[in-house]
Symmetry: C2
Subunit: 334 residues, 2 copies
């Protein structure tokens, strides 16, 4: 079914107000969940709302908790999320990293004890809209084996890089797993194989059979040993800089919570050549766009281009929402 942006936002706002969030927080979260859906990322937008409410009801997300600064030195700060909602904490910390960047050229906030930020690209866009470059990442519960290991002990630790661009921001938002379990499940539902291996089957063989992968929940890291190593160092950075929980500690909880994140922003306008910078970014995009595709009529994209296209389409045609998700949300709102 198609629902308008206004209606989604209104229903979510009312839902969050019902759950006793402040007006400001309810508005922010309704907007972020709706925007992600509008950008074509329903998996971390509207579809995630019922689970978010479940985590509130289980006490994992503290409604009135506020992230607060606990240490600072020059351009870097350490914050504690106090188990507040991930979206609110992430928005605040991105905003603070932008402020620090505008003051010092670059800034960093390391955040501990926060909750799932939903779509990482949200904060990449936020930084880019404030004319900052950003590098952001989070740790997660374990869902991939470290390279060579049998059991999931490392997280898919989403990693975001964004670059402000007049003709459309560049936003990379990638998890360290080749395919998310959500995507793998979509293939299962369509009874299709993955186009490339996405995890291990129960006999420890790499597989592109969604059913076999889902039976063990061991996702394949991007680039095999390379993504495994990258996942580990992101966990180390987020944990040591925030003084927070590692994937190891998070694994001891029933529900993924009290995770650690890093927000780095750079303000490139201090070099006073924004015109040149924009030209250089466009040069890279033009060079890659201008390549002959391997498959006829295929197209090469820059990171963030497809979600901008999805957004334009959704704004024109309306936003498709899974009916059972929408009904669940309406029920929760009552």
């Amino acid at each position: 079914m198609n629902i308008s942006q206004e209606d989604i936002e209104k229903v979510l706002y009312d839902l969050f107000i019902k759950y006793k969030f402040t007006n400001e927080k309810a508005k922010l979260m309704a907007s972020v969940f709706t925007e992600s859906t509008l950008d074509g990322v329903s998996s971390h937008g509207i579809n995630r709302v019922p689970l978010f409410i479940e985590h509130i009801e289980k006490g994992v997300i503290k409604i009135n908790a506020e992230a607060e600064k606990i240490a600072s030195f020059g351009s870097i700060e350490r914050w504690d999320g106090n188990q507040g909602p991930g979206i609110v904490n992430a928005t605040k910390c991105t905003n603070r990293a932008v402020e620090l960047a505008k003051k010092h050229g670059m800034g960093m906030v390391a955040l501990r004890n926060t909750n799932h930020w939903m779509r990482g690209g949200t904060y990449g866009k936020q930084a880019a809209n404030a004319n900052c470059v950003s590098i952001l990442f989070t740790n997660t519960k374990p869902n991939m084996p470290p390279w060579g290991g049998k059991e999931s002990r490392i997280g898919n630790n989403p990693f975001v890089v964004s670059i402000p661009r007049e003709k459309g921001n560049v936003v990379l938002d990638m998890a360290m797993s080749q395919f998310s379990f959500g995507k793998i499940n979509d293939y299962r539902l369509r009874e299709e194989k993955l186009p490339y291996p996405g995890g291990w089957d129960e006999n420890d063989n790499l597989s592109n059979d969604p059913k076999k992968i889902l039976s063990k929940e061991r996702a394949l890291p991007v680039g095999y040993w390379k993504g495994s190593a990258l996942s580990m160092v992101l966990d180390m950075l987020a944990t040591l800089l925030s003084g927070g929980n590692s994937t190891s500690k998070i694994s001891s909880k029933d529900i993924e919570t009290e995770i650690s994140q890093v927000y780095i922003c750079v303000y490139p306008e201090v070099f006073n050549d924004q015109g040149l910078q924009q030209k250089l970014i466009d040069e890279i995009i033009d060079f890659t766009h201008d390549v002959e595709p391997m498959k006829k009529n295929d197209k090469i994209y820059y990171p963030g281009e497809r979600s901008a296209q999805a957004r334009a389409k959704n704004l024109k045609d309306g936003i498709f929402i899974n009916e059972s998700i929408w009904n669940k949300i309406l029920l929760l709102s009552k």
Copy 2:
């Protein structure tokens, strides 16, 4: 043949002195090339010396050029490498990023017009030895197709993350290609297939046949579309922050030169809990080490662990050097 660390360093020092480098630069470069070889990374150590000399002779590397600061704001600076030797420029910029981090909590140097830094991990180690966390990256000439494209238009853009650790620094040093062309060539020489696809054959099919991949020089990005996107944003960051050349511009040169790099350092000791930080890093390493391996007697490694092991072995048994490379270097030294 086995050569001692002292002998390698002495021969390289004399070679660089012969090529009119200052005493200080000859010493530094001899040490860096030797250390990389000692760490088991001969491909970017001793084996790379003849090509380095060739690039000097072709005027691509300027012997007397010095990297200089061209702009700064708070904790970030822009430097121009003036086509000096990559090792000297990279060492200087890492050192400067460390200084900025110790003053501001974190610091960044964006460097343009530099040359190949050889082994990126060198500077990760340098930062870690100065008690800083580092995130470093460089762009390169194009050697991978952007995802879906026929022609190589993106670089394998090595990316380094390092973390100071008492029991052995953590150093991730990964290029964005699944296998380097050097590695692919090693498989070709041994007449073996790659264990996983490493590039495209001439019919645009992914292949694990080194001969077929080498015939077209189109390496596979780590994680397919994901590494392609990551490569692009690293190129964008290095180019826009330094105001330097992108992979697109570098592609117009016969030899890879005047490339762009970024050095970010963070000084986590400002939070005054180094003991806790060390414990947290060890916790992550212990958790991943402690997993049952998929293959019997296999072992899980943290990033940097194997090069530390190679170093220990080489220090004990002597450093194996390819004889023809060594003879080439001796000839160049005459």
